[in-house]
């Protein structure tokens, strides 16, 4: 019936055309893949022919100024998963083995997979040694699950210095999004303190080892003889200016209190001690941190993670009086002989401002010594707002000190503009200045700012940028790098500083000094008390001091919140710290009597 067409020429031709078309299509597509896009696929091929093994560098260690170790690393055991090798059906049994939440596991894997399915995702870190062997045993039953050792932070120093050192923690999702490509889920990152501010220096560089892998996921040795491997580079060490002994003492003195201690070396701005109380144990974060622990520390009533030394902004009280005095003396508003009669209170218009006591007729020295408010009320009206603000700025108030910690507040230094802004133009009067004269009202400072201010009073106006890290030591080369810090001179004459310092000397050593508690035999201590009124309870107790008077080696600021008078709470703490540090540095003369006794025994 269709015989005529059987195997006809046209049909033969059509079939041959089909054959040629099919082969041609393949050749074209092959050409596209192999000739046009070889580079693209070649690169892809390199990327996925291997299993990537991430080598965690050792995080840099942290030392105090005398070379004693504060933070180092210990091996910790972790379990990770390579998402594309892993089968989700394993999740329940894996969760049971690791004692983790199934949802948590699948979420972690999901996040990691989105970034790269070939990169290991850490599931659980810091596995306790006790359960180690049983977990390791059972892990062999799982596909795509690996067991690794990674370094973990250990805090072996006697000092906690929790807020200075800060802590490391597993990177959070928002951080992953903002910190860039270096980090992968499960990575450890410096969260606070020096761990955060020196993150890129401390962390080092991750190494990448490329392993050849067989069909069963077993490694077949290094890929391409390790030619494309990247060696891990350990992080650099930080050598701090912190004095461990002083830090330990300061921490012990602040136990059970709320407040802060900042001690600086007035010769260079190095932080000798920095305490924020209450503190926390940074090692809590170095391994696996439970949600509950985190919540408690982060949101608890104590705000233990909050660095009061650099972030807490409170009215400085009478410690601020030298700002006003310096303005008055330097601007020539008054001479040091200028006096005010203090009847114990001060009327501005109809408003009454009380003083602590009836101080009688006082000059600038006595006013500082006795912390006479009436003197400074009067002085403030003479000096004026602008000069006060200007000198406050010169001492660094209202701006961050630029210390090498991210956690820092600028505080508030009121000015005309500031008052115009918050109260409205012409909606505030000179009466508002009265409080500022004694460091009350809108002015607020951090303990660090007050310590830096004390430093400049101690060294006649050299403002060194406060800093904690003295130098960085590169692990590989052994080279040290000194970090550059700014320094500036406050344009106030030596004579004015002499006058301010004399007043501060009297605070401690004068007959009516408010800080006589801080007297140390054999050494002249200068200081200033501050009692900042607190509408919510007992006043905040401040004390700033430096010593020895003629050749200051330490300048410090002690704050105890809701504690009472500066002279009675903060000053005794400051005294012990000064005594310890001066003794340690040899600035404290050895008691003469002992030598006499020894000599007597010899005879």
């Amino acid at each position: 019936m269709f015989d005529t067409d059987f195997g006809s020429r046209i049909r033969s031709l059509m079939i041959k055309c089909a054959v040629v078309a099919a082969l041609f299509a393949i050749v074209v597509k092959l050409g596209d893949l192999q000739l046009m896009n070889e580079v693209v696929y070649g690169k892809k091929s390199e990327e996925i022919t291997t299993r990537i093994l991430v080598q965690q560098p050792l995080r840099g260690e942290i030392f105090d100024r005398n070379g004693s170790v504060l933070v180092e690393n210990d091996p910790a055991y972790e379990v990770s998963v390579i998402p594309y090798e892993f089968k989700n059906t394993q999740i329940p049994s894996l969760a049971a083995l690791l004692q983790m939440d199934s949802i948590d596991i699948s979420r972690r894997i999901q996040i990691g997979e989105n970034i790269s399915p070939y990169f290991p995702v850490r599931l659980k870190r810091d596995i306790p040694f006790a359960t180690l062997s049983s977990i390791e045993e059972h892990l062999k039953d799982f596909v795509g699950v690996y067991f690794d050792i990674e370094p973990k932070r250990v805090y072996i120093g006697k000092a906690r210095a929790a807020h200075v050192l800060g802590f490391t923690k597993e990177i959070s999702e928002p951080q992953l999004a903002t910190l860039g490509d270096y980090y992968k889920p499960g990575d450890i990152v410096g969260y606070t303190g020096l761990e955060a501010s020196y993150e890129t220096i401390l962390r080092g560089q991750k190494g990448l080892r490329y392993l050849a892998v067989n069909a069963r996921g077993q490694t077949m040795g290094s890929y391409d003889n390790g030619k494309i491997d990247v060696q891990a580079q350990d992080g650099s060490d930080l050598h701090l200016s912190l004095d461990e002994g002083l830090q330990v003492l300061a921490e012990s003195l602040m136990v059970g209190k709320k407040g802060a201690v900042v001690a600086l070396d007035p010769n260079n701005g190095e932080v000798l001690a920095m305490v924020s109380a209450p503190d926390f144990d940074p090692s809590v974060f170095s391994g696996y941190t439970s949600k509950q622990q985190w919540e408690e520390l982060n949101n608890g009533d104590n705000h233990a993670l909050f660095n009061r030394a650099t972030m807490s902004v409170l009215p400085p009280g009478s410690t601020f009086k030298m700002v006003l005095a310096s303005a008055a003396l330097q601007e020539g508003t008054i001479k040091d002989s200028w006096t005010v009669h203090c009847p114990g209170s001060f009327y501005f218009g109809t408003r009454l401002f009380r003083d602590d006591a009836v101080h009688g007729t006082v000059n600038v020295y006595e006013a500082i010594e006795k912390s006479c408010d009436v003197y400074f009320y009067n002085l403030m009206l003479k000096v004026g707002f602008d000069a006060w603000t200007k000198y406050g700025e010169m001492f660094g108030f209202g701006t961050k000190t630029g210390i090498d910690l991210r956690e820092e507040s600028a505080g508030i230094l009121p000015s005309r503009d500031y008052y115009d802004q918050i109260f409205g133009k012409n909606r505030w009067t000179s009466g508002y200045l009265i409080s500022l004269a004694i460091g009350q009202g809108e002015v607020s400072v951090t303990p660090l700012q007050l310590a830096a201010y004390t430093m400049t009073l101690a060294n006649f106006g050299d403002y060194f940028q406060p800093h904690i890290v003295r130098y960085i030591c590169d692990q590989r080369t052994g080279k040290t790098f000194y970090t550059q810090y700014s320094e500036r001179n406050i344009p106030i004459s030596k004579e004015v500083f002499d006058e301010l310092r004399q007043g501060m000397e009297l605070v401690v050593n004068g007959p009516a000094g408010t800080g006589s508690v801080a007297q140390i035999p054999g050494v002249i201590v200068a200081g200033k008390t501050g009692t900042a009124q607190n509408p919510h309870g007992k006043p905040h107790s401040w004390f700033i001091a430096f010593a020895p008077f003629d050749n200051p080696k330490i300048a410090l600021c002690v704050l105890v919140e809701n504690a009472g008078w500066g002279g009675s709470v903060a000053a005794p703490i400051a005294k012990q710290l000064l005594q310890y540090y001066l003794n340690e540095t040899g600035a404290l003369p050895q008691p003469q009597q002992n030598r006499v006794v020894a000599a007597a025994v010899l005879h």
Binding site: T4, F6, I15, A25, L30, S45, N214
Partner: protein, 406 residues
């Protein structure tokens, strides 16, 4: 003997098959090199040798043996197909492997050869006696039975191979082009439906134009187009019931390969990466990073072309394609040389099966065809596949040897 070699032995076809088989052995060696699967290399050599013997055995069988034994062979393989459905052991979610010679075998591979022979026998012996519709109906029956049986296994790739057998043989036999297009139309529409509205519209319009061009009748063309569309839509309704989830997924992934780069699409992506990274001359034998590092799954079976593409590059791929092309043309040449219609039809059927296998297999390696899991003739590892390939070569050789006989 010399006279036989000179007159009766189609050394061209034979050498092309040997060349392809050799490429296969080398590729399987590379694909399994240094791995626990390397025993497949030895087994591949054994299967190729066995295939060679089968081919020679078929070559030297009598001129009437194939035509006479076709129906018996057909019934036997159909029984085997039923047997695997009932008692087959599962291999990668197919049930097409039966315990044969202790190693397992896929009767669907043999069933293809049996179907070619049976359809050719039927058309050459009875085709002229019946009317066109009876011929079509019975042909559909002959091809439809193994098709349904393989579809039930389920084995999508092999199922579609039967379409190639059916259309190529009937076309060669002389079926009107319009009927071929009419039969292909619903299938084209089903396929187009998964590819999006634009493709569907284009397909329907071009089918309508094709109908009009072939028949010259407007009303008839439009009606036929509508019937085709209706059938396609009807089939789409059964899509979810007829196809297994993994088959649906494969089709989806073929059409949208970026949907699932880690699942089934992962295979396709890995294969493409391997082949693409081969470049012009490849990375060198046993030096393909993708294949040596075993990133390509099923690399000694369905994705063996990645070994050729990666290690021998575009050049090696082209050589392989040329060998295939030459073999196909040799098959078509034999179809024209032989005196019997049976041999001619069967030669075309064999050529189309080999072409279809090669095209779809290489196509799925390079994202030109869905990943349906059919082997690359002579090259993919697999006993029954290699045996049936060689058996088909043997049949071509037999036809050539007896080409002058009526």
């Amino acid at each position: 003997m010399f006279k036989f070699l000179k007159d009766s032995f189609d050394y061209k076809t034979f050498l092309l098959a040997v060349l392809l088989g050799t490429i296969g052995v080398l590729s399987v060696n590379s694909a399994t090199f240094n791995s626990a699967s390397h025993s497949f290399f030895i087994r591949d050599i054994i299967w190729q040798a066995s295939g060679l013997i089968v081919a020679l055995a078929v070559l030297f069988s009598s001129n009437r043996f194939l035509q006479n034994g076709a129906y018996f062979f057909y019934v036997l393989t159909m029984l085997l197909l039923v047997f695997v459905l009932v008692a087959g052991k599962k291999v990668s979610s197919h049930s097409s492997w039966v315990g044969l010679f202790g190693g397992g075998g896929q009767p669907s591979e043999l069933a293809k050869v049996a179907t070619i022979l049976t359809l050719s026998k039927f058309l050459s012996e009875k085709g002229s006696e019946r009317n066109q519709w009876q011929v079509i109906g019975i042909s559909i029956g002959i091809v439809g039975l193994p098709m349904i049986l393989t579809m039930l296994q389920p084995d999508l790739g092999t199922t579609i191979v039967y379409l190639a057998i059916f259309f190529s043989i009937l076309y060669w036999w002389g079926l009107q082009p319009i009927i071929i297009v009419g039969l292909i139309a619903p299938l084209a529409i089903i396929f187009a439906e998964f590819s999006g509205t634009t493709v569907l519209v284009i397909t329907v319009i071009s089918l309508g134009l094709l109908f009009f061009f072939l028949s010259g009748r407007r009303l008839f063309s439009v009606t036929l187009s509508f019937v085709a569309v209706a059938f396609g839509l009807f089939m789409e309704y059964f899509y979810k019931k007829l196809l297994q989830p993994h088959q649906q997924k494969r089709i989806q992934i073929f059409l949208h390969p970026n949907l699932d780069p880690q699942g089934a699409g992962y295979n396709a992506l890995q294969a493409r990466v391997a082949i693409g990274s081969g470049g012009l001359f490849g990375k060198g034998y046993l030096h393909g990073a993708q294949t040596q590092l075993r990133y390509v799954p099923a690399r000694w079976t369905d994705f063996i072309f990645t070994v050729i593409g990666e290690e021998f590059g575009f050049f090696g791929s082209a050589v392989t394609l040329l060998a295939f092309g030459a073999l196909f043309f040799r098959g078509l040449r034999i179809a024209e040389l032989v005196k019997t219609r049976f041999a001619s039809l069967a030669s075309v059927g064999i050529t189309s099966v080999l072409l279809f296998h090669a095209f779809v297999n290489i196509g799925m390696n390079i994202n030109l065809a869905p990943i349906v899991g059919i082997p690359l003739p002579f090259i993919s590892y697999g006993g029954s596949s290699i045996l049936s390939d060689w058996m088909m070569v043997g049949i071509l050789l037999n036809f050539y040897a007896h080409r002058k006989e009526h």
